[in-house]
Amino acid sequence: MTRSRKVWIPLAVLVALTPLGLLASGTAWGEWGTDEIKGLLGYIPHGLSRLADINHIAFLPDYSLPGLGEGFAGQAVGYYISAIVGVVIIVLLTLGLGRLIVRK
């Protein structure tokens, strides 16, 4: 394998390990959904509730595949798919942008 191919190995290892990222339960501070906000405050701030759910493009919401269930196995599969889909999109986007911008 050439050196330039070898640098992608750590990335594959990281993809394989991603379900470890599911072990920590709880939401990051300030990233609660409207249900969680309601639980914390007793109400949902008006502007927040108006804007909270405007993203209808996200087809893997919270790095999960809707329909796989809440169990760890289902979440892990969703997480794997998300990791691979994310990496592929980012790599293609970067290479595409590079073609547009970089001429040397």
């Binding site: 990335l11 701030p45 502007g47 804007l51």
Partner: protein, 231 residues
Amino acid sequence: MHIPDGYLSPATCGAMYAVSIPLWARAGVVIKRTFTRRTVPTLALLSAFSFLVMMFNVPVPGGTTAHAVGGTLIAILLGPWAALIGESLALVVQALFFGDGGLTAIGANCFNMGFVLPFVGYFVYRLISWGTPFNARRRWIGAAVGGYVGINAAALAAAIEFGIQPSLFHTATGVPLYCPYGLAQTIPAMLVAHLLIAGPVEAVITGGVVAFLGRYHPDVFSLNPYERREK
């Protein structure tokens, strides 16, 4: 640290886009001038690396989670402007397809994690490692400290954006419209998570990768146009 939709007022979101757009433009100019066809796949790799690093949620005392970002590492290897683009690409993909970070908050999130984080981290790294060879101990120490300071600077920026909301945007009776917590709550919450948990993780990743590369592949450091210029 991915600010969702609804936590920042539309005015704040607009202001953060207004700050980020010229930064993206400047980054595009720098990349056009300094990148070669060989550098682009490295940026793709590092941007994807950062995306994956952000999937590793780590528990924070108090029941929340945090994660490392990897932006200072991109800045060390390819320069801070490339880090802004690599990080922004990861953040846009996270917001669009995974709902991680709001669409309205892309300007804010790219400013925090794409600009503040790598620029502060890179500045600290250069301060500590200036003039040393690529395999020097001060390189990975600088990388670790830079990663730590950079992610905390970004967390502070996010905390300020969150924390100014309730006093600026509320109903006539004072009920918050967006993020309900003020600076007295947002700054400690964000900083505890990042000073104690995400910061050390970022330091280990950034310092570890730089130590490994410095030892086995020191030539990769010259991909950073700012390193080349010094030679």
